[in-house]
């Protein structure tokens, strides 16, 4: 095991690599201390807490970009005794997580001010959760995967129950914990079998050891892989492991739903992609596995979303469907296909967070998350309705929003990589046609006259909180421009995935012949 034993000390390089994480950790602790020091919890102090968190998040992002700019050639190498791997993929995914965190912090402040007294803990918790996600997306060792995943999960449980006096929030939190706990246990059982087969926790060693089993089809092997990926599918909220998501999204505070639907999911995709590309590339059944899950996820997500009355629940099912679309890239497993997932995640980050930001704002204005209560909103807040419409159209995949380009490149990559999966693309596109029905229904309600009572009660002029406003502006701009200027982002996405495939041809499965 040359990689793990090469260094016995943590050097400057390692420290620089985890500099973004260090900054985030310092920020987290600083926020905790500041929360304890500010007793009065005035508006002023609360706003200060948000600003400090934003500074640390942006500082962390700046450090990441600085680190990235230092090494243009981007030779992948392992860090921290082989626990982490510094490659393009880790940089891209961590940058996305930090961007998602920044937007989450910005959009949550107005919500928190309205609903709770204690604000600082929230920022500390989301930063902690993102920290877990960052470790997860750079992990090169099973233990690191576990630590990252649990840091992300446990903080998420607490976050879901942040409004703990609200029964719904507490219930969401508890359900998430029980579901997540069992998910973790199953995941770990799978990992212990992986360890048993390979005798190591390090990815590259496991990959070497498992290569001996390539093409072997044994029930234990299959069970092991399915246990590992079922738990990840739970994190990705892929049907039929999605059932926690609607309940938790509805019950949890809206910013937390936003965070779970984007940052948590991005981190889960990062580890899924890494495990697939590094450890299990030759596993015989994974194309079939992902095909089944993709079809189930798209169909269930979209069809159940049609009947939803609560916008958070609706968006929960919509994320289930989106995870299903993204899985089509895993099915073909080519670097173009998987790279398109990374690009999809980039666009998804902005459009979904943007949509949730609108839900937060609407919730503040109307005090309700019912779609019906949005009726006639255009008369009171035309700009906000426009922004929400752009996000929804992007989620539905209408040009020239980024959502369209993400879908186009993904499905194009699937067909070009393996035309046997054209039927899967057809299913996905049919589903996205269905999805337009419920997205556009929201837009229709917002623009018709005869406003709901809640809308009537909105005062004519209240100024938008600057953090929420700027986060919305950034999201709108990104949603409109990420697609039109996609080249560079696509390039990073595919290159980062190419680096994961370590001189080993990807075995493309034959597809569902029957």
């Amino acid at each position: 095991m040359p990689e793990t034993m090469a260094m016995n000390v943590i050097g400057q390089k390692d420290m620089l690599f985890i500099l973004p994480e260090i900054i985030l950790t310092v920020g987290l602790l600083a926020i905790l201390c500041l929360t304890m020091m500010t007793h009065k919890k005035t508006r002023h102090e609360n706003a200060g807490l948000m600003q400090v968190s934003l500074v640390f998040v942006l500082g962390s992002l700046a450090a990441l970009i600085w680190q990235f700019a230092q090494q243009p050639s981007m030779e992948p190498e392992t860090m921290m005794f082989g626990a982490l791997r510094a490659d393009l993929f880790s940089y891209v995914m961590r940058a996305m997580l930090l961007a998602g965190l920044g937007i989450t912090v910005a959009i949550s402040h107005a919500f928190l001010e309205r609903n709770t007294k204690i604000i600082g803990d929230f920022y500390a918790l989301v930063m902690g959760a993102t920290l877990g996600g960052m470790v997860l997306s750079a992990a090169n060792d099973l233990a690191a995967v576990f630590i990252g995943l649990e840091t992300l999960s446990i903080t998420s449980y607490v976050l879901a129950g942040y409004l703990r006096r609200t029964t719904r929030s507490a219930e969401a939190s508890f359900k998430y914990l029980v579901y997540g706990g069992m998910g973790t246990a199953i995941f770990l059982f799978g990992l212990s079998l992986v360890y048993g087969l390979s005798g190591s926790t390090n990815f590259s060693d496991i990959a070497t050891a498992l290569a001996a089993y390539q093409g072997v089809m044994h029930p234990t092997l299959l069970l092991m892989v399915i246990m590992v990926f079922a738990a990840l599918a739970f994190k990705l909220s892929i049907a039929p492991f999605h059932m926690w998501a609607p309940d938790v999204y509805e019950g949890a505070p809206t910013p937390v739903s936003a965070f779970l639907s984007v940052v948590s999911k991005t981190a889960a995709f990062a580890v899924t992609i890494r495990l697939l590309m590094v450890i299990f590339p030759g596993f015989p059944a994974w194309a079939e596995l992902w095909t089944i899950l993709a079809v189930l996820s798209m169909t269930i997500g979209n069809f159940v979303a049609l009947k939803q009355r609560n916008v958070k629940r609706l968006l929960a099912y919509s994320t289930v469907a989106h995870a299903g679309y993204m899985l089509t890239g895993l099915v073909v497993g080519s670097s173009a296909g998987v790279g398109s997932i990374v690009y999809y995640l980039m666009t998804y980050l902005f459009m979904n967070l943007g949509a949730f930001a609108c839900v937060i704002y609407f919730g503040i204005l109307t005090g309700s998350d019912d779609i019906e209560s949005y009726r006639g909103m255009v008369q009171k807040r035309p700009g906000l309705v426009l922004a929400f419409s752009i996000f929804l159209l992007s989620l539905a995949g209408i040009p020239i929003t980024a959502g369209f380009f993400a879908k186009f490149f993904l499905f194009q990559a699937v067909i070009m990589s393996n035309p046997a999966y054209t039927w899967l693309v057809i299913v996905a596109l049919l589903n996205s046609t269905v999805s337009l029905a419920y997205y556009i229904n929201i837009i229709r309600l917002m623009v018709v006259k005869e406003p709901s009572d809640a809308v009537n009660a909105i005062p004519a002029h209240t100024s938008t909180p600057w953090a929420l406003g700027s986060a919305l502006t950034i999201s709108v701009a990104a949603t409109l421009l990420l697609g039109v200027f996609a080249s560079q982002f696509l390039n990073y996405s595919t290159e980062s995935v190419k680096q994961l495939v370590q001189e080993r041809p990807v075995v493309v499965s034959q597809g569902l012949k029957r």
């Binding site: 576990f146 446990i154 029964t167 939190s173 914990l177 706990g181 973790t184 360890y195 926790t201 019950g251």
Partner: protein
């Protein structure tokens, strides 16, 4: 002479895991559900330590991993109990059947 081999450990772990799983799925008491999750995690620990011992004794990766799991599961349990207390305050119950406000 009878020797306790790898398979015995794995079987023990599998049985323990299944008992935990059954408990999670069937208990009506929320605390018992949390305990059963711990049971499942301990099954994993047995697996890891056994594999470490029988397959790769030089590298202590498996044992270190199990220490991690112990630590993290303690954190998870404490968070779980805290949430349960919050939930109990509003529902006055720890019956799993009654936590169904959020549905459809």
């Amino acid at each position: 002479m009878f020797e306790v081999g790898l398979y015995h450990y794995i079987t023990l772990a599998a049985v323990l895991f299944s008992i935990g799983l059954y408990g999670v799925l069937s208990s009506r008491n929320a605390i018992r559900v949390l305990m059963c999750i711990e049971l499942m995690l301990n099954a994993v620990n047995i697996n890891l330590v056994a594999f470490n011992n029988f397959i790769n004794i030089e590298d202590l990766g498996g044992q270190v991993f199990s220490i991690f799991i112990l630590t993290v599961s303690a954190a998870e349990a404490s968070v779980g109990l805290a949430i349960l207390i919050a939930l109990y305050r509003s529902r006055k119950s720890v019956d799993m059947e009654r936590f169904n406000l959020l549905k459809w």
